[in-house]
Symmetry: D2
Subunit: 144 residues, 4 copies
């Protein structure tokens, strides 16, 4: 699932009781929060922090979400949330996700984002930022 | 519980599946959201809408929460959330709450708020607003 | 977007303050909750209530989510959440969604579900239920 | 605030974007989730895990919440959530909380709980469990 050579981070998440529902499993809306938390850590680890992006006046608003749930998880399970940058264009980008619980695949997914200013209007990602992100996204391949 | 003569609104809330937890009941953090929704409707019904307050540059940030849970509720239960203004002072106010499910008392509570500007700094509630709110809070008594 | 002849329900949702994020807009994870609430109402209106399904020992666990966000919405906006049954098979079904705010398209989406018992094991939807659902899904066409 | 000799745990929580609201701060309902997560870690560290309690058929349902918010926090702030057991009785217990962000006091609070079985009916906490908990709650004092 994870593309060859993708630069990833893997972020552990321990399931809170408040994330479960009456079926006894993690409610499916929470996975979007786990993905968001992981995205923040990818940016901070391999690019620059989301706070720095916001100080530049740029936000990455979500335009599309595609999630496949493969396994349900429960209170106190430890999830490993892996994310990577799929692509970055003039004013948009996409991130991929894979969530595992021990060796079990829990979810795969993708989110797409548009870069907007604080008023929500589309604004291009500066070229030097895009170039840097593209390099970060594939550093493993390049290293190889 | 509801003080004599208090001006109330009662707002129905149908419990969503996403509001339940693995005990099969509504997770206790959601009651704060039900109270918030009801507060918004009280303001709009008996004072002015929260959007208008925000346009004046005033927000009512929560400073204290006190909730007593008397009965647990489940998916698809219909809750009646009643709220009223307990008091308003120079830069703060308190709201009271009672939640019922049919005739069963589910929760009683109070939230306290400080009035702040968009930067989060304390700002007085204009005197004419306070006077109007106090009258609204007790209109039932006055009518009597 | 809405397929010709689909049997729909449209459910109003007023955006709560707790549903917004620091960009000032509705956080994208909430749309899944709006869809879920609408789904419950579709079942109750055009089929049988989710509580009745659960009493039969059947749950519709989410296996896939696909959402396109077209417009951001804010505190106190009134959303109209429309949903319909796209298809039903032996042990799965799909629902479609369209969210509008006044005349503005806010979101389109689809969720897919598998029918499971209380232990989360796949269980077929009884044939008579599937037949009834298929009829409900297209009643508008049939009526015409 | 933290009682002398109380046995505590301190659990870091990094604020997610999904936990903020349109005022740009952490929505007040989330603090109850932070407290819950910390409570789970206290039990696991100083008593036995909540999963083990649940296997015994016991849950600690929340009956009362009292929170004082002293400072607002923002996206990406690191919170230190400290919790301790205040008391344990025949079928109930209370936990205390203090949340800090660096040296700034963010919140203080208490939750009260009743021990119930899986059907939600009150069930006593076995005497040996209560005795053990009371010892754990004060181990620091005892050690001294």
């Amino acid at each position: 699932m994870i593309p060859d050579g993708a630069t990833t981070i893997t972020h552990p998440h321990r399931v809170g009781f408040h994330e479960t529902d009456a079926m006894g499993i993690v409610h499916h809306s929470n996975h979007l929060k786990f993905c968001e938390n992981a995205r923040v850590i990818w940016l901070e680890t391999h690019d620059k922090s989301y706070s720095e992006w916001m100080e530049m006046g740029l936000h990455f608003a979500v335009t599309r979400v595609e999630l496949d749930y493969r396994w349900s998880t429960r209170f106190d399970d430890i999830l490993d949330v892996t994310t990577w940058l799929e692509w970055v264009r003039g004013a948009s980008l996409a991130m991929g996700y894979e969530i595992k619980c021990q060796d079990q695949l829990v979810m795969t997914g993708r989110t797409e984002h548009v870069s907007v200013n604080s008023e929500g209007r589309i604004r291009r990602i500066p070229k030097e930022d895009r170039d840097r992100m593209r390099k970060s996204a594939l550093s493993a391949v390049k290293a190889w």
